[in-house]
């Protein structure tokens, strides 16, 4: 280590003055990672891949898109019909948004199951929730850009939520719209923000990674790494595992893009926006449906808005709501059951968000919403007082395998 580890003289020269290569070598190559990570730890890098894909395809789309109420719809159709492989770029971007959310939601539930938000990873978690919030804002504004019926009416419904704020609500909505209805100035600013927010996300992702690399990844048994026998270098072990995960992800993604590109979209968005005709049911994109269900479950408008944002807000304070010091659900028999109930609850909310707000759906929405907040605000703080956790293993390596194999793997790497 004392001598430069790089053979290439140019790399050596640069690295001496600007240690980017040392940095990358340290953070991407040697970076010690718990050796027992399962496939659920693939979803972080997949989210990163999805973000880059969205930015690259988005930039190409923006070169052909016109942010004007009279031309937006037609400019998207021009991309679909006349731009070379424009349909491919647009379908990747359109389905990419859905897949980005699928990946991120799995990533979040992974964190919930294995207690990845607990000390000392609270800021890592909070930065992640911030990324989710930014993603939602970005996705919402992106959905407005094609200027179809759902774009327009979705924008109208969601921006109108702010009118629930007492006293200044109406003024805020006018300010957001840049006028007295969703119109050209709204479309223009949404395009501008939709373009810039992804780069803000990149910034927060970098912070997310800095926080991650401070203590390293959590792992399925949730106990701290005790020494080098518990870890393996990130490369080649997790680079190849991430590549395998990426190949599987891409297979699903490509199947959607090439064979079912409109499956997750809404047919009404192929009708140009018309302020005079309201669609029978205004539904947001599927990834907003659980929040939409919470919004509609509360009979009061302001209350609905508060609970909807509250559903995200509880995630921010989760590291302090959960009083259990045991991270992984594998050792929390009662929490484990409630975890699956929460997952089911969120899926149920998603289903209810897509249904009309009437009859049995309203009642179910209220029950599901109540459970969501019960889970975070009551169950998380109180469960540790009731629950008897299972004994934790002494270290990561001991219950799995002896330290010898890992040590030798490290040794062979060091020799190279």
């Amino acid at each position: 280590m004392s001598k430069s580890k790089f053979k290439n003289p140019v790399v050596k020269w640069i690295d001496h003055r600007l240690p980017v290569f040392s940095f990358m070598d340290h953070e991407l190559n040697h970076y010690p990672t718990p050796k027992n990570l399962n496939y659920f730890w693939n979803f972080g890098s997949l989210a990163g891949f999805a973000l880059v894909t969205m930015i690259v395809t988005g930039i190409v789309l923006s070169m052909n898109y016109t942010a004007h109420v009279d031309y937006a719809f037609d400019s998207v159709e021009r991309i679909m019909r006349d731009v070379n492989h424009g349909w491919l770029i647009r379908y990747i971007h359109m389905n990419g948004a859905s897949f980005f959310f699928i990946v991120v939601y799995i990533h979040i539930f992974r964190g919930l199951y294995y207690g990845s938000y607990k000390a000392p990873r609270e800021l890592l978690w909070i930065l992640g929730v911030l990324i989710l919030l930014l993603m939602m804002a970005t996705a919402f504004m992106g959905y407005v850009l094609p200027w179809g019926q759902m774009s327009f009416w979705g924008a109208t419904v969601i921006t109108n939520l702010f009118s629930a704020i007492p006293l200044v609500g109406e003024s805020i909505v006018t300010w957001l719209w840049g006028g007295f209805s969703v119109d050209n100035s709204t479309l223009n600013r949404f395009f501008s923000l939709h373009f810039v927010l992804p780069f803000v996300i990149v910034g927060v992702v970098i912070l997310h990674l800095v926080a991650l690399h401070r203590f390293g990844s959590n792992n399925p048994i949730g106990i701290d790494v005790k020494g080098t026998q518990d870890t393996i270098p990130f490369s080649p072990y997790y680079t190849i595992k991430d590549l395998f995960g990426l190949s599987v992800f891409l297979s699903f993604f490509a199947a959607a893009v090439f064979f079912f590109p409109n499956f997750m979209g809404h047919p009404d968005n192929y009708i140009e926006a018309n302020p005079m005709v309201t669609p029978a049911h205004i539904v947001p994109e599927w990834y907003f449906l659980p929040f939409y269900a919470i919004l509609r479950a509360i009979p009061d408008k302001l209350g609905g808005v508060l609970f909807m944002f509250g559903a995200i807000a509880v995630l921010f304070i989760l590291p302090w709501l959960d009083r259990s010091s045991v991270r992984s659900s594998q050792f929390r028999p009662i929490y484990k059951i409630f975890f699956w109930i929460l997952l089911f609850d969120c899926i149920l909310l998603g289903y209810l968000g897509a249904m009309p707000a009437e009859g049995i759906y309203v009642i179910l929405s209220r029950i599901a919403t109540a459970y969501y907040f019960f889970h975070f605000l009551i169950l998380f703080p109180l469960l540790p007082y009731i629950e008897k956790t299972k004994p934790l293993p002494i270290s990561i390596s001991e219950p799995i395998l002896g330290g010898a194999a890992t040590a030798s793997a490290f040794a062979t790497r060091e020799k190279k």
């Binding site: 050796k35 679909m80 590549l243 990426l246 190949s247 997750m264 047919p267 192929y270 799995i400 062979t412």
Partner: protein, 263 residues
Amino acid sequence: MIKCSSKFFSNNILKLILSLVIISISSVSFGAGEKINYPQLNWSFSGILGTFDRASQQRGLQVYKEVCSGCHGMRLLAYRNLKSIGYNEDEIKAFASENSVNTINDDGEVVERPARPSDKFVSPYPNDKAARAANGGAYPPDLSLIIKARPDGANYLHALLTGYVDAPSDQKVPDGMYYNKYYSGNLIGMPQPLYEDGVEYADGTKATPHQMAKDVTAFLAWASEPEMEDRKRLGISVMLFLLLLTALTYFSMKQIWAPIKKQ
């Protein structure tokens, strides 16, 4: 431990797939309200290997031209696009020139000229208001995207075009409205467009309403997704590549991890 986590993994995957299924069901059914079941036809273009039937598309263009185009535009389609359903340049030129478009001549006057292959399909009305005024207030929608813009678009359109029946005795049909068993609310502003032998097919196919509805749907499905055949063809290659890549990365991973997994 490893065994335990792999059991947990498969368990999880099952639940994940289940949840995705639920999500997809919900996303499909949110056109809800009152459910109307359309007859499900076997379209040549459905499925991941499906392609358009050229002869049917060309007959469909004829139906569009002779029956629909009096009221419905196709503003996103250009005449040159007809090349991909099997017409040559001369045929397209001739087809386009039957329509005329406004242009501004060198003296600054608005004059008419015959449409060229590079022009978009000429709409029957100069604007939406004219379209409404000519149709008793009902707006005949542009058909460029109609198949993509309706849930289960192809089956819906075929059903709608063949769904004109006598109204039940308890149903009052106001003037200028027509009864259609597949239209939401059953009262539609469009009179029955397709009658036995409404067009005369050049290839001798019998022009039954069912046949014409099928043909015009095939044509409009292509108009909605002109990239579909290219997309599916490219998709097959991409999937084969990804299958290979997945296999390669899987076995590389197994090999690289072998010393770690060894007890």
